[in-house]
């Protein structure tokens, strides 16, 4: 990209640093006697609906760096945190500020898909290494994919897709899908529908309500009158909790089985209690996963964050691993972009969710688990889909 070159050159001149191109192995900036700190911008929601995922990601990411001796590729790190408020309109300015004013070397973020897309757009333009630790917007590793953009989490399509088959396997052929009227909702329900219809199911009704409204009553009334075999939903956070409670209050729990992308129960299971009993969901992680990494990670996270780890924490942790793997390969020279990106893309990431690799479009290729909720606990029923890769529609890389 023409523009990237221009920007980088220009900034280098402005900073009056040694001509960058000639000394590509040496970190460009020096503090007294040692390599300059690596500036990491954490652009995450620290307030609002997604504050809890935001905080968990940040804590787990820092935990991973701390486990690595507080260094990345041999360089000390400096964090610059920005609360993105999950507000897409502010995203461009926030990201641009981090890159052009604060001059971060790496950008980590974020939870909200719309914000992440805006971040990715700026990152593409400015050529800054960016790792997305949650937002599942298909575009980020689809039509917007770029050599410098990675994702440590999932695509919205990914955890929902296997659920279509799961419902068919349970003998349910007539489904209602419901989500918020926003791209994440459309992508997730789309993934479900793709697999559900392909295996002989029919979606009788698609309900999309205003984001982030949680007034479900009118729609639950409608579901009750349609009487489908099952309901598939994509909701997250407080909205998910509210949905589970309202679903039970409307008398539908146990009468019409409820399925969802795993976010329906993640992080709200304790509060939902019995109202969540029987909900089946598919996700690339489950708290109860039985592997060594997970058993090590969960207490470690609890020790620093003072709360239980969840899928978001795992994704933040893995973002740290991805950065470390890449930077170690280039010994801390962030300017060696080609080698850096290749190292990340080719790595096998040891994760509490089980090891995964990155697909061509820089999205994880990972196992999707089937879980069921009961009495405030989630039980893993098995793997719903092994090593599922996002199709990465529209990505030409």
């Amino acid at each position: 990209m023409n523009e990237n070159g221009l920007t980088t050159t220009r900034r280098t001149i402005l900073k009056g640093a040694a001509a960058g191109a000639a000394v590509s192995f040496i970190p460009t900036r020096f503090a007294i006697g040692q390599a300059a700190k690596l500036k990491i911008g954490l652009m995450l929601p620290f307030s609002g609906t997604f504050a809890s995922p935001g905080v968990n990601i940040a804590e787990a990411f820092k935990l991973r760096i701390a486990e690595n001796g507080g260094k990345v590729g041999g360089r000390d790190v400096e964090y610059i945190q920005v609360d993105d408020e999950s507000a897409p309109p502010k995203a461009k300015d926030n990201a641009a500020k981090l890159i052009t004013k604060d001059k971060v070397d790496v950008l980590i973020g974020t939870v909200h898909s719309g914000v992440a897309e805006a971040m990715a757009a700026v990152a593409r333009e400015e050529g800054t290494l960016t790792i997305c630790p949650n937002a599942g917007a298909g575009k980020i590793t689809g039509e917007m994919c770029a050599p410098n953009i990675f994702r440590s989490s999932f695509s919205n399509w990914q955890p929902a897709y296997p659920c279509g088959k799961v419902m068919i396997n349970d003998g349910l052929k007539k489904a209602v899908m419901m989500s918020w009227n926003y791209p994440a909702g459309h992508e997730a329900t789309g993934g479900f529908k793709e697999n559900f219809v392909a295996n002989g199911g029919t979606v009788v009704k698609e309900i999309f309500l205003d984001f982030p409204k949680v007034e479900f009553q009118a729609y639950l009334t409608e579901i009750a009158s349609i009487k489908p075999d099952g309901v598939f939903v994509f909701f997250a956070g407080a909205g998910a909790l509210k949905f589970i409670q309202d679903y039970a209050a409307a008398g539908l729990q146990g009468k019409i089985p409820l399925y969802g992308s795993g976010f329906i129960t993640d992080g709200v299971l304790k509060q939902a209690g019995a109202a969540a009993d029987g909900i089946k969901s598919t996700l690339h992680y489950a708290d109860a996963l039985d592997n060594a990494m997970n058993k090590k990670f969960r207490p470690a996270f609890k020790a620093v964050a003072n709360k239980d780890a969840d899928v978001y924490a795992v994704q933040g942790y893995d973002a740290g691993t991805m950065l470390i793997k890449g930077m170690d390969a280039v010994k801390g020279d962030i300017k060696a972009t080609k080698a850096l990106y290749a190292a990340i893309a080719g790595a096998t990431i040891e994760s509490p969710r089980g090891n995964f690799t990155l697909g061509k479009n820089h999205n994880p290729v990972q196992d999707i688990y089937l879980r069921i909720a009961k009495g405030g606990e989630e039980t893993v029923l098995g793997i719903a889909h092994k090593a599922l890769a996002d199709p990465g529609k529209g990505c030409s890389m």
């Binding site: 897409p88 461009k92 719309g114 009227n181 459309h186 999309f208």
Partner: protein
């Protein structure tokens, strides 16, 4: 009618010269910030024409800002057209039509009704873009393909270049200012200003007041559309919040802060507000608390805005007033 005294003209010329030289010294960040300020300044100026001159207090001005933005996004993303000579006129034409429709409905009312109806109709458009999957819902659309003005291989304007964009915005801002000044001095402008001063009397003098108000509304809306178009070029992003009533409120604050009925005041208002946000927001999470207090303080203590302040400072020379009598 907008009287530009000599010191004000001198100040304005100085400001334009300063803005023209600014990119020579600025870092990318400040270059972009200035571009943003000019775009918002244009937006505020268009609202000032409506509020400060035509006397129509609209709380839905962001609707036009957003519609034009979506217009550009449609051309770039859905139709794949990057030609400025297509997308700009088309986006402005759509905006003008929308302004005509909203104006036609709201002009029939006055005062508080007008405020509420413009607010509600803008909100209707907000939901239109928010609810339709086609427009990308709350996540909006990213616009990577920036418009270009080219004849064959000869590229006249490539707005993906940040310097070109900067100077385009500056030029359009100045042009819009001159256009509105010209309008205000024309017979049309006299009528518009007369309506603000005494609507009933204008009617009795034989003016079909509603038509002039509607025309003023459409002109202001279309200019807001120009600002919206540039905003999307600048940020490469559009989502429903560009049409939200917060946006309408903020731009109204810019108009008041800068000084109503001056055209240039609101640009100063935009500058002040953006700089304030830029400097405080990173220091304090709850900077909006300060902002709220600031807005209230301006309403209570500086009702004529910064322009009023400048004018009262310049009132040392009573000569010009004596000349009037």
């Amino acid at each position: 009618m907008p009287a530009l005294s000599r010191p004000v003209i001198a100040l304005l010329l100085l400001a334009i010269a300063g803005a023209a030289l600014f990119p020579l010294t600025a870092e990318t960040y400040y270059l972009k910030l200035m571009t943003k300020i000019m775009v918002l300044g244009l937006f505020a100026m268009s609202l000032d024409f409506l509020v400060g001159f035509a006397g129509l207090v609209s709380m839905g001005h962001a609707a036009f800002f957003g519609v034009a933005g979506y217009g550009l996004a449609w051309f770039a993303n859905k139709a794949g057209i990057g030609a400025l000579e297509v997308s700009l006129p088309a986006a402005l034409a759509i905006t003008a039509l929308v302004a005509l429709a909203i104006g036609w409905l709201s002009i029939r009312t006055t005062g508080v009704y007008f405020i509420m109806i413009t607010l509600a109709l803008a909100q209707m458009l907000f939901y239109f873009f928010k609810d339709q999957r086609y427009w990308g819902g709350t996540d909006g659309m990213n616009v990577f393909k920036k418009p270009k003005l080219a004849f064959g291989d000869w590229v006249l304007l490539d707005l993906s270049n940040r310097y070109v964009l900067y100077y385009t915005c500056l030029a359009l801002l100045v042009l819009a200012f001159l256009l509105l000044l010209t309008l205000l001095r024309s017979p049309f402008g006299r009528v518009v200003v007369g309506i603000k001063e005494n609507e009933g009397r204008m009617r009795a003098l034989g003016y079909d007041v509603a038509r002039y108000k509607l025309a003023a509304f459409v002109i202001a809306g279309t200019l807001a559309g120009l600002a919206g178009y540039l905003e999307v070029v600048r940020s490469a992003f559009i989502n429903p919040s560009h049409l939200s009533w917060h946006e309408s409120g903020t731009v109204l604050v810019m108009v008041l802060l800068g000084g109503m009925g001056t055209l240039w005041g609101p640009v100063v208002g935009a500058l002040a507000l953006v700089m304030l946000e830029d400097s405080i927001s990173s220091l304090w999470d709850h900077w909006l608390l300060l902002m709220g207090g600031f807005v209230i303080a301006v309403v209570l203590f500086l009702p004529d805005g910064i322009a009023g302040l400048i004018r009262s400072l310049g009132r040392r020379a009573p000569k010009s007033e004596a000349a009037d009598d």
